[in-house]
């Protein structure tokens, strides 16, 4: 693992490096370098398996964090590649040419976070949400409770209980706290 | 003229009996199947309720003229066979209109309903219907061969194609039934019946979890009611045909009911214990064992 990272650092400008587990590490790279780094990992280092692509909304930093997780079946190690992109104008280079299934992840991210991947197949089509015209729901500035209350006719009289408290009250009504 | 009206009334009565018996028979079969599965199953009157409910549906839709005519053809097919089939041997009234045609007419009249149903379902435009029909027709082609050979064997044995005469020849005791005088043909015929009644393993046509219910996918309300009516009539009539051909016919209603029940039960019995064939499997199956038996049946009587 170290060797890989060392090798990686010597070739790319890797800014952040976290060794999560002995066989799992995260590196952070610049947006521009990300795709070439991934290509390098796939073709040279043997990270042939693409595990997932996901995003985190760092609304405070005004950033989206994209995480590509790759797996090397031979070395039995995982490598996460983090890319921080601007939240105002979220675009990222598409990686669908490396693995076909990336396109699906990118489509999901486009829908849920509004991160654009120009050139990715069918990226503009709706994926899970059919006919969504609000801000992308996984962004943290989207208030889902408010949206649900406005949209879905909440029924009055809804309450909630802590099951332990509730059962205690019910079973031992006399017992005072 | 009077004769004809009386004849018609008797025929309607017969139809009524057959319809109800068909539903009762269907219900009891389902009861039996349920018991095999350790269930109580439907109430015995369930088919009547279903039928009433279907006829009492408030709305219906129509895909076009053929969609409308399909069930008419279908029921016409079932009732037509009923009309041309002598039910009770020795009774002029219960022999219906069998003087207008013989066994061949009945064999070919089966297609009347099938064709209409197929066209009606086709007009519905649903691909699953068409898939179901193609399967049904495919299977039917090979189902018919053993039956044809059995009929030829019977014609050779009794030297007639008239059902009444075939039944007449079987009178006078159990030993005279075709079942015993020509067991090979009977086997061929009964194997063919399995395919004709479309219980498992030959029920790919309406396989509900594959092509939702097959041909009648789009049928509902009164259309479906008509189809169910036909189903009840047709099952009895098919069983009655085989009863006449192979099991000595019936001289009274009690005998009729027992025999048709048992004949119908045969296919249910097979169905309960067998899984389903794919279509090419069933086609090939009918071209193997039942065909061989049918050929044997004819060879024995050459």
């Amino acid at each position: 693992m170290d060797k890989i990272i060392k090798d990686l650092t010597s070739r790319f400008k890797v800014t952040d490096y976290i060794q999560q587990r002995p066989n799992m590490a995260y590196v952070t790279v610049q947006k521009e370098l990300a795709i070439s780094l991934i290509t390098h990992m796939r073709d040279i280092e043997g990270f042939t398996h693409f595990v997932l692509l996901t995003a985190v909304d760092w609304i405070e930093d005004n950033l989206f964090q994209l995480t590509y997780i790759l797996n090397s079946p031979d070395k039995k190690v995982d490598l996460g590649i983090r890319v921080m992109i601007d939240r105002e104008n979220p675009t990222m280079d598409s990686a669908h040419h490396l693995w076909q299934q990336v396109a699906t992840y990118q489509r999901e991210l486009k829908e849920m976070f509004g991160i654009d991947f120009p050139g990715s197949p069918r990226v503009d089509e709706s994926f899970i949400l059919e006919g969504w015209d609000d801000i992308p729901p996984y962004r943290r500035d989207f208030d889902t409770l408010k949206y649900a209350e406005e949209t879905y006719f909440p029924r009055d009289g809804r309450g909630s209980n802590d099951p332990a408290e509730y059962m205690k009250k019910k079973l031992y009504p006399d017992e005072e706290k | 003229m009077n004769d004809i009206i009386i004849k018609l009334l008797w025929t309607l009565l017969g139809l009524f009996i057959v319809l109800n018996w068909g539903m009762l028979m269907g219900a009891s079969m389902r009861k039996i199947v349920a018991r095999v599965a350790h269930r109580r199953g439907i109430p015995i009157y369930q088919p009547w309720l279903d039928l009433i409910k279907l006829y009492a549906k408030r709305t219906s839709i129509s895909h076009g003229v053929m969609f409308y005519l399909g069930p008419v053809f279908r029921l016409g097919g079932g009732v037509g066979i009923f009309l041309f089939l002598p039910l009770i041997y020795g009774s002029e009234y219960w022999s219906n209109f069998s003087w207008a045609g013989d066994l061949v007419l009945i064999l070919y009249f089966q297609f009347f309903g099938m064709l209409g149903m197929a066209l009606g379902a086709g007009e519905g435009g649903h691909p699953n219907s068409v898939i179901g029909i193609t399967r049904g027709l495919s299977q039917f082609t090979t189902v018919e061969i053993p039956l044809t050979l059995a009929v030829i064997s019977l014609a050779l044995q009794y030297n007639t194609l008239s059902i009444t005469e075939i039944v007449a020849a079987q009178q006078g005791g159990v030993q005279n039934w075709t079942l015993f005088t020509n067991p090979v043909a009977t086997v061929a015929g009964m194997l063919s019946l399995l395919g004709a009644l479309r219980h498992a393993p030959f029920n790919l046509v309406k396989a509900p979890n594959e092509v939702p219910i097959g041909p009648p996918t789009e049928y509902h309300s009164a259309f479906l009611g008509v189809l169910r009516t036909n189903g009840a009539v047709l099952h009895v009539v098919e069983a009655a045909l085989f009863m006449n051909l192979f099991f000595g016919g019936a001289t009274n209603w009690a005998e009729f009911i027992i025999k048709t029940f048992l004949i119908y039960f045969w296919s249910v019995f097979v169905g309960v214990v067998h899984p389903r064939f794919r279509i090419e499997q069933s086609v090939v199956w009918f071209l193997k064992i039942p065909l061989a038996i049918g050929v044997l049946a004819v060879i024995l009587y050459i």
Binding site: - | I61, G125, P127, V130, T141, T148, I152
Partner: protein, 1041 residues
Amino acid sequence: MVGPIYIIAIALGLAFLLGFFKKLNANIAQTFMMAGVGAMSFISVQWLFGHLAGMVTETVTYTAGFKPPFSISLQMGAMEAGVTSMINIFGFLGGVYLWRKLKEMGLNAIIIYMVTLMGLNVIVLTRDLFNLFVFLEVSTIGIVGLILLERGVNTISSGFKYLVAGGVISSFMLIGTIMIYKYAGSLYINDIITSNIAATKGGMVALFLLLIAVILELKPFPANGWALDVYESANSGISAFLSAGFATAMLFVLYKLMPMFPIEWQAMVAVVGGITFIGANLLGIRQKNAQRLLGYSSAGQMGLLTAVIGLSSYLNEQFIFILVTILLGHYLAKAGLFWLAGIVKEKEINSWSLLRREPLLVVLFGVFILTLLGMPPFPSFFGKWELIMKLAAGGQTTWILAILIGSFLEAVYLFKWFGYVLKGENEGLPVLQIKPEKIISPVVFATVSVMAGYYAGSLLGETNFAFYIPLMFIAAIGLLEFLPAFVKNTFAIAGMGYLAYTTLPGLFETDLLRFIFMGIFILGGILTLFAGYYYKGKRQGFYPSALIMFAGLAGIIQAETLLQFFFSWELMTIGSYFLIIRGKRSMTHGFSYMLFSLAGAYAILAAFGMVDAQVGNMLSALGGVTSHATLIFALLAIGFMTKTATLGLHIWLPGAHAEAESDVSPMVSAILLKAGVFGLLLTFFGMGAESAGNSSILYVLGWLGAITALVGNLAASFQEDAKRLLAYSSIGQLGYILFAYAMATQLGWIGGFLYVINHFAFKAILFLTIGAVVLRVKTHNMYEMGGLIKRMPLAFIAALIGIIALSGVPPLSGFAGKWFFYNAVILKGWYFQGAVVFFAGVIAFLYSYRILQTVFLGQLKDEHRHVKEIPLTFLIPIYILVIGIMIFSMYTHWVLEPITQYLTAYFPSDPVHWDGAAATTSLGYWNGTWVMYIIGIMFVLILGWLLWLNAKATKVKQFNMVFSGERPFTPETTHMAHNMYAGYNKALGFITAPGITTFWNKVAEFVTDAAGFIRRIYTGNGQTYAFHIVAYIVIIYFMIF
């Protein structure tokens, strides 16, 4: 009478004179030449007419005032007059054709032309052997000189090869001549004949050398490579000269010299001819170059004629007739075709499609091809007919076989060529330039061909004229080609109506069988022609072809003699060929149709020959056949089964019917196929279906019919093309019919008749309907249609009724057929065949449903949302037939009862009893009318009930259906149509594997490969050719001695 010597005098004199005036204007010189040739023609023609009219007798002219053997004598008998007329007329017309070329080449060419012509005349006329040799050489030199009209290197080298080969041949001829002189002491042919020259060995050798030289001049296979190169490369006018003029003269030489040779040698001559006929035609199959192909054909025809001369002892009094008609056919056709080749100027036969730009040329081409092949109404047809008849009378089965095989091979390449002309791609080909002088000669020859055909026919003493009335009517329609289609259509229908008016009532009185078939032919013809009103424009070529076919069909019915029948049969084949090949992409289908038809026709011809030999030429005498009855029966059956497209002989049908035009498909399917059935019936009726030898054949036919039905229906179920589906269905239905008739019982035949009528009606309905739908939607593929019931309800109803009648569902008439089948099968005892047929019958449901579902039901496509109902001109005939089928279903007994009575004459046992509408057999009973009533009433009651319950059903549109909570996206993806019976295909598709097509393809491949292999002996090297000649002589020598 002007003496024949003047022919020579004129030619020589003119040639000399012209030679003096070197500076003479070419135009004037040529006018002189034409005048001279005209005069020569006149002399010979006047002799010919003199002989024909009986005014003159055989005349011998002596030169130099001595009697032979001391001088040369010229004999002008009828044959000589005829042949010189042919040569001179050809010379004249050829001169016209070569006008420009000769003028270009100047005086010398004109002189050579005249001298060559003169040489040929002398060859024919002279009775002196050496004189013959001299003028043969003169002609050869002349021809070789004329070859130089073209200056290409190939032409020149081929001319040289010709010279080398000719030199070798003439050497042998010279030796032969001189040896004959030594042994016979005379060169006068008549003296040689009377002298006993063959007694000595040396005399035999002498005769042999002479004979072989003459034969070699006729270009026998395989020692004929030298001639083929000339045919290919020379100017087409010269090739025509070589083929029509020179070969004709040489053939006459052989004819003239034949009496000199020992009678045993005739067989050798015949064999040589036969081998040439087959060999040359076999090699012709691989040819792509038009002129070379004609060369092969020319060699082949000469082979045939040589064989005829060799076989003269079998032909007796008809020898001359046969020789002359076939020779005439060859002469007219070959000259005409070579001339056309000169007009077209395209070497490759597949470029000849540009001929299509000029309809007149196509007509000419057709006339010549048909003349060459011996098709009616051209003279060689009668020649071939008589040849076969006489050979059969002589018991020469092998020869019949050989001649038919040769003719068939010839037909293969000629019709391939014809196909290119009619249907080949003619885009991007150069413009056709027709110079007036080039077209005159072919036109004249084509006209002569037609007239000669009539004359030859009348010579055979048939009441021939009746068969020519329809042809004249057709010719009249043909002349009206410039009129719009609807006018011609009206004329055609009127003609058919007149035919019906004159024939049907009479037939009804006399012969029910013929009445039924005539009714089908004429009624069907009128109805299908009616659909033709749909077509705009001129529809060139359609009406003559269609009417030729109908004339042939009517002729078959009316024929009384074998010749009339065969004449009409061939006529019908030709007409239908033209009809079929009119369709799109139908070149190959028309080709295979023609080949199968011809093969069938030849089988019929062979059988007729045997019949004629035994009991004379009346059709009704068929029953009197005693020897070879089984063989004749089998041959006739096979012949007629090519038309009914029985399995094994069916591969032409699907493509031919599917690609034909919308109103032609019903003509060829519903109507034309019945001609084969009629033929079979004639055979069965005539020859006694149940006689001992035939019953085993019938047994085979029964199985064949059953399997045909099965395979045809199964294959129909797997088609994607609507018309192809119907075509396969026709194969299946004709299988039923064959099966029914093969049973040869009364019940079977009633069923058969029922099927014939029924198939006619429903197949006409279906083909018209589907054809009209195809016209509207412009596609054949069923999966591209769908949902058309919404746009074309009337078409759907018609198709539905057609399908119900087809599938045999009660109450329509199809069921009656099934009922009779069941009874017949069981009574006959053909249980397993019967089971196969019923299996096939059930399979019919698969395709019946398929065509209704995928075309009319299911999902309507975007582009068909606005299509109109099928045209009224189609609807009217369709609905006439629909009404007909309903009435027929309701009152089947109206038709079947008379048929039953009619058949009682043949099957006295009478197993069917009719009581009104009720039919009873010993097995079962059936009452068509009551079944109809009962079902009708029941249907109405149920419908009423449903309507009462369900009147308020909301009408929805095509996407309003259960789609698992989704909705359909496009009609294409929602229409379940493509590969509809996938599961069934998986289970039983192997039955329809195209084994038979593969088989025939392999046969064709083998034949063409063989041809390709054999033709490698023609290396192109002149020496090899010379060696061939020497080797040929040696081989034949050792074969004889």
